[in-house]
Amino acid sequence: MLDWSSFALDAARGSALNILIMAAIIIPIMIMLEAARDMKLLDRFSRKLSPVMRIFGMSSEAAFPLLVGIFFGIGYGAGVIIEAARSGRLSWKDMFLINVFLSVCHAVIEDTALFMALGANPLVIVAGRLVMAVVITYLAGCSKFTDHYQRKKISGGRIRAG
């Protein structure tokens, strides 16, 4: 038989407590993210990252949109990627590899904070996502399939961003 009063108590107390913990973590994190954005931290960081981009088969122009996606999420990242693509600074391969990397590893600050509030180990989840993203982006960057696909895209004249 269902114990309604103990269910109601569990549900109310538990959900209120969890929301409070999440608010306590997510609000300071969002303030820090906005501060990082206004201080243009990623602009400076992306210049340092340029040599690393070559290992993945990407141009140095790809560093900034990639970093925005990693730290601020796909929403912000997409805006920057579309902007960079329109101005012709990104090749199809750049966009493809950014997409591959970000599909596994995006919005790391916000996502990690939320799971940290539940009790997950933040270091393990950030490192785990980064390693997985680096591995598949490297493989995709080396693969003949990507180059073949890029030629097909460019000859078809359909480079799309989004």
């Binding site: 114990d3 959900s15 609000i27 596994v104 996502d111």
Partner: protein
């Protein structure tokens, strides 16, 4: 430049994320807590136990996995909060879901960029299972 506006924007975003989160986490938390008070959760758990054990998770965690894959992370968070998982189990399910979540929406996004959605989904799912198995061994 850091101004008072930076702080105000951050605060506003934090509150809006918390609000969006609450709208999903609270109903899911209530629903899963309800299931916990009925035999239904045990049936689901028993059915999923063999597959979940591969990645070191208990059967009832399958609810959070399904919600995360097919709806979004917020719903999965609501379910995880209600289930009594150990820190190791929470870390495993967190990494798995962070690698692969919101498949219907993110597949559509991948397709827009010209990448096969099915291909990306399969790769992410495989990476997710692989990292779950690895964490189960390491942690």
């Amino acid at each position: 430049m850091l101004t008072a506006d930076t702080f105000r924007r951050g605060l506003g975003k934090g509150i809006s994320v918390t609000w969006e989160l609450s709208k999903i986490v609270v109903p899911v938390y209530v629903l899963v807590t309800f299931l916990k008070h009925t035999p239904a959760l045990k049936w689901i758990a028993g059915f999923c136990e063999p597959a979940m054990r591969l990645v070191g998770l208990p059967g009832e965690a399958s609810i959070a996995v399904v919600l995360g894959l097919f709806t979004n992370l917020y719903a999965a968070i609501g379910a995880i909060a209600s289930l009594n998982l150990s820190p190791k189990e929470i870390t495993i399910i967190a990494l798995m879901l962070l690698i692969t979540h919101s498949l219907p929406m993110e597949t559509a996004v991948a397709q827009k960029v010209g990448v096969s959605g099915l291909f990306m989904t399969s790769v992410r799912f495989a990476l997710s299972v692989l990292s779950g198995m690895l964490l189960n061994l390491i942690l």
